[in-house]
Subunit: 431 residues, 2 copies
């Protein structure tokens, strides 16, 4: 008997009708002989509604109470989903994060899972039930307070449960058919990717592909949980994420060549970053460290960093870095506070930037991938402002208004367009 | 240091503004030096909204899942109330029924409290917090499943917590000023009652006074918890329910004479009952028992019973009883099923009846109370259809359209009108 963990997001259970539709889908698996554990998010925008309510009450609600409040959302969706399954003649039991053994630390609003002890879920399965588990929530080990895992937390709940229960697959249901070679709203010729390695999916997620939460993919890689990202609105095969072949039970039609790595898997983009430049930093050891210590102390994640000799004063440097737009105001404030002690001239803030990332495990063995990107952007008259790379990723920053054109140019250049039959020749000297 | 348990119903916390108002009220008590535990119901009509949602999903939702669903309501209200208190600069922590140690049996939808172990509530109080507890809900002892206590369950939660914590008073906040001598919508001269014994309150609640749930009053009597029923919209003194004097801390203005029993405390009424007559039952031992066994097996509570020799056939009797209108259809169906075996002629169903009850502990020592009622109704040309009595209550059934007039007549006859200075003389032979 195989065990499937299925995760349905808020858009899949937005109202009574969609809850019933999801219930039918779950029951199909049960009928096919699988054990099924379902992780569900709050219905539609209910979590946002609760946040609005909290904000009406208090500008700064205590974190413990905010987590208590938000966990009401999944409590509702899981109970009605269990009802809908029962209405189809199958036994189902719902479990809160706490009941399902999602043990976390005490960091309200962004708790980390420290242990998973799903005894009651196992018992429910043994008794022939479909188990429905609240996503996004847990209970703290030390104080038994209710916690939430933060945005995208339901994906993490699903993967953590799949790991703990040794599930054959963790299916992540969403409103699109899987992970695409680029955002189809920008690149109409984008194709669904059949299979990604964990590392590629991590780089895609970190580069702006919103379909899976980074943390869930990290967890899946750590515990080797095969993920299947697919649409809750169709029965199409979606995108598998794993480092091993797909179990034949779940993908009988899988082609033999599926594990052969594409050189480039996809082109991701991100409009949510801004660029902050610290202008005229004294070129003395320790000054850059001081800047990034202040940034880190305020829990701001930075992405790319570029340091140049100042054009205006050879004894000074300009340090630029990218950061989430939402942290822009904080970063500006905390750096202005230390302007005097660091001795820089001024700050320059720019949120009209876009980041394009090309991801593919094949980069390791194929030289010339970088040159292909730069040629494509150059031919499209797009200037590159910053560059960063990892082993399997190249990211560049462009002007925001040129980002769409850059994504299209890169997608075509790497032969990812669905109507493309071109064999791409990577040449040149190294990456 | 005194400890106050305060219970706020859904209408007191219907929206963000009323939550803030309730928070200010709670904080007043904290400022005055009391320890405060608050029991709160779901906001406004949220529980009904959840029931509607469940009904959209399934005509017969599993009881376990329905309880899981409904408990989301108090989770929301308690968390936002804790936030509102924190926003006023006071520490507050919310607790689910399970966290507050409300241990119940496993009867979903109408669970009975089997134990109260509020360790976390005590700890919160010791740490200077105001404790907010979800009303209406608990957790089953045996299976750790979430349960609800049924309609009016939040009152019971408050009383049970007050008993377990040995609180000085359990304040029940509602949208009226207390318990009245009659429903002010029917009798404009009705007065707020200062003080009732548990027994009187029990009879009032059982006779249709909706202000307190019967079960909560029973619990309060059993554990001798003083109740104070009062309005959340004013600071007026409400109605105390206890068998002992009111603690001076909470009612400094209490008159010395307050414990002197009024002969009649109030006039209650009930429009929710119907009368079912089983016509032509063979006058053989065991036939009545058979009828009431069928009724009891279907968990229908009956109230008054009258048996008469059938006017049509002296060898047969007519048995009439009253029951909640909501059980009318079930009772009719299950009795029709056994018509042949019991051998009765037919059923007669009448839901155009009203029940009037006069309640007062003074009845025990004052003869003539019954005669006063019958005289008053007779003078008002109101016919009495059925009669039942307890030690401190007389109830009569009248036609529904005459009930208001009957209540007014009784209220006046017992000198309960607020403009009345008459000394009522009870005379006659016995009750």
């Amino acid at each position: 008997m195989s065990l499937v963990v299925q995760k349905f997001g808020g858009s899949s259970v937005a109202d009574a009708e969609s809850v019933k539709r999801v219930a039918r889908r779950i029951v199909e698996y049960r009928k096919a002989g699988h054990d099924v554990v379902v992780v569900v998010s709050a219905m539609g925008d209910f979590t946002d509604d609760l946040i609005d309510l909290a904000n009406q009450i208090s500008p700064l609600p205590p974190a413990r109470e905010l987590d208590m409040l938000l966990t009401a959302g999944e409590r509702i969706s899981m109970a009605v989903l269990a009802m809908a399954i029962a209405n189809l003649g199958f036994e189902a039991q719902s479990f809160t994060g706490s009941q399902a053994g999602m043990i976390t630390d005490e960091s309200f609003g962004r708790a980390r899972i420290v242990n998973v002890t799903p005894m009651r879920v196992k018992e429910a399965l043994e008794n022939g039930n479909i188990a429905i588990v609240a996503g996004f929530q847990g209970v703290s080990h030390a104080t038994k307070n209710i916690t939430t895992l933060g945005r995208g937390g339901s994906d993490t709940t699903a993967v953590a449960l799949a790991a703990s229960l040794d599930a054959d697959v963790c299916e992540i249901y969403t409103d699109v058919d899987g992970v695409f070679t680029a955002d189809p709203r920008i690149v109409p010729t984008a194709r669904r990717i059949n299979h990604l390695s964990y590392e590629e999916m991590l780089e895609m997620a970190a580069s702006g592909a919103k379909i899976l939460h980074l943390r869930a993919v990290e967890y899946a890689r750590q515990y080797d949980v095969p993920l299947h990202v697919r649409s809750s609105f169709s029965h199409n095969r979606g995108t598998w994420v794993s480092d091993s072949p797909i179990p034949p039970t779940f993908a009988p039609e899988e082609e033999e060549t599926s594990m052969e790595q594409a050189v480039i898997s996809g082109v991701a983009h991100d409009r949510q970053e801004a660029k902050l430049t610290v202008v005229g930093v004294p070129d003395i050891p320790g000054k850059a460290a001081e800047i990034f210590r202040v940034i880190a102390e305020n829990e701001i994640n930075i992405d790319m960093i570029v340091q140049n000799i100042s054009t205006r004063d050879p004894g000074r440097t300009d340090i630029s870095f990218t950061l989430p737009m939402t942290d822009g105001a904080t970063a500006t404030r905390v750096l202005n506070d230390v302007q005097e002690s660091i001795g820089f001239d001024h700050l320059r803030y720019d949120d009209q930037i876009g980041k394009l990332s090309v991801v593919g495990a094949g980069m390791r063995s194929h030289p010339g991938v970088t040159a292909t990107l730069f040629n494509a952007l150059s031919e499209a008259h797009i200037n590159i402002d910053m560059i960063s790379t990892s082993e399997i990723r190249i990211s560049v920053v462009t002007r925001a208004d040129l980002l769409d054109a850059a994504v299209k140019a890169a997608h075509t250049a790497y032969g990812l367009d669905s109507d493309s039959n071109e064999a791409i020749v990577y040449g040149g000297t190294g990456r």
